[in-house]
Amino acid sequence: MTELEEWEKVKQALRKPATPEAMKEAAQAFAKYRVVQLTKGKGSKPTLVTLGRGRGYPNAVPVDKIPEELAKNPNFFNLMKRVVK
């Protein structure tokens, strides 16, 4: 499966309301997408950051931890839903 197809799955999962099932689905889809991306050999420690205050999710989430955060935190799920349209 190509990167774009994997990303499309992330987008589809994030379109759903933040139920535990949808959050798990989005987490799995994102993890698969990152596996595809990481094979391209981008090193370093990419981290998703925001300048929000008191939003109910961390201001810095390492990209490889995004699936975990997506699966457990509905506020973070909703942020990703807004970012990934």
């Binding site: 370093s44 981290t47 300048l51 929000g52 205050r53 201001n59 390492p62 990209v63 807004r82 970012v83």
Partner: protein, 225 residues
């Protein structure tokens, strides 16, 4: 007239964003930067009334903008209008375009540039000691730097926001990583200009050509975990 440049630096997002301004904006403005522990309410209160432009980096929400360690700098209904009257204000922060921006304009600010949702980007935490070298973060933060340089060249706020939005679009077009691309498009769609689109400030001298050869100041402060 000095520039008020308030740069919080206590966690990864503030370090990353402030690092880009330390490298690219600080060398061309007067030395009254409120950096790190100086990014607090009292120094801001003292310097803001004398400036024509306020540039801030810090965490925020719909009603407030904070400095170092989330100390409140500007909050709806809790500041002296003299601090913002007649000024161009740019806040790199989340959601301040929702209620704080309109409140600043209501209290006499000429123009406000901010965002109506979170400001998100991907940075490399391995580069926290030299954030200005982070190419991943640069895709989002250099359009902000370009927009600020446009303002400091004496151009209008409308021109500045167009430069920023065009920068995001241009970078999104060539970005291969879908997450980075989504962040760029998200920030572009949420960037707002309130107040007078023709608002402008006194032009600052351009940077002398060899400035990039001069190393930026070392960042020694540890980040909050």
């Amino acid at each position: 007239m000095p520039t008020v440049l308030l740069l919080s630096d206590y966690d990864l997002p503030t370090r990353s964003a402030s690092g880009f301004l330390l490298r690219n904006i600080v060398p061309r403005v007067e030395p009254v930067q409120l950096y790190a522990i100086l990014a607090r309410r009292r120094p801001f209160q003292l310097s803001a009334p004398q400036s024509d432009i306020i540039i801030g980096i810090g965490h925020g929400d719909a009603i407030g903008f904070s400095g170092q360690n989330e100390v409140v700098i500007l909050e709806v209904g809790r500041y002296d209008p003299r601090e913002v009257e007649g000024k161009v204000i740019k806040l790199l922060s989340c959601q301040t375009g929702i209620a704080l921006g309109p409140d600043l304009i209501k209290n006499g600010a000429t123009s406000f540039l901010g965002y109506v949702d979170d400001y998100v980007w991907v940075c490399d935490s391995d580069l926290a000691a030299t954030p200005w070298t982070d190419k991943m973060a640069a895709t989002c933060l250099m359009p902000v730097v370009d927009s600020l340089n446009t303002l400091l060249d004496g151009k209008t706020c409308q021109e500045a926001i167009e430069i920023e939005k065009n920068g995001y679009s241009r970078n999104a077009e060539v970005e291969e990583d879908e997450l980075l691309k989504a962040c760029l498009e998200f920030n572009r769609d949420n960037a707002v200009l309130l107040g007078d689109p023709e608002g402008r400030v006194r032009a600052r001298p351009k940077l002398p050509l060899p400035f990039r050869l001069v190393p930026p100041p070392p960042i020694l402060m540890p980040l909050r975990r």
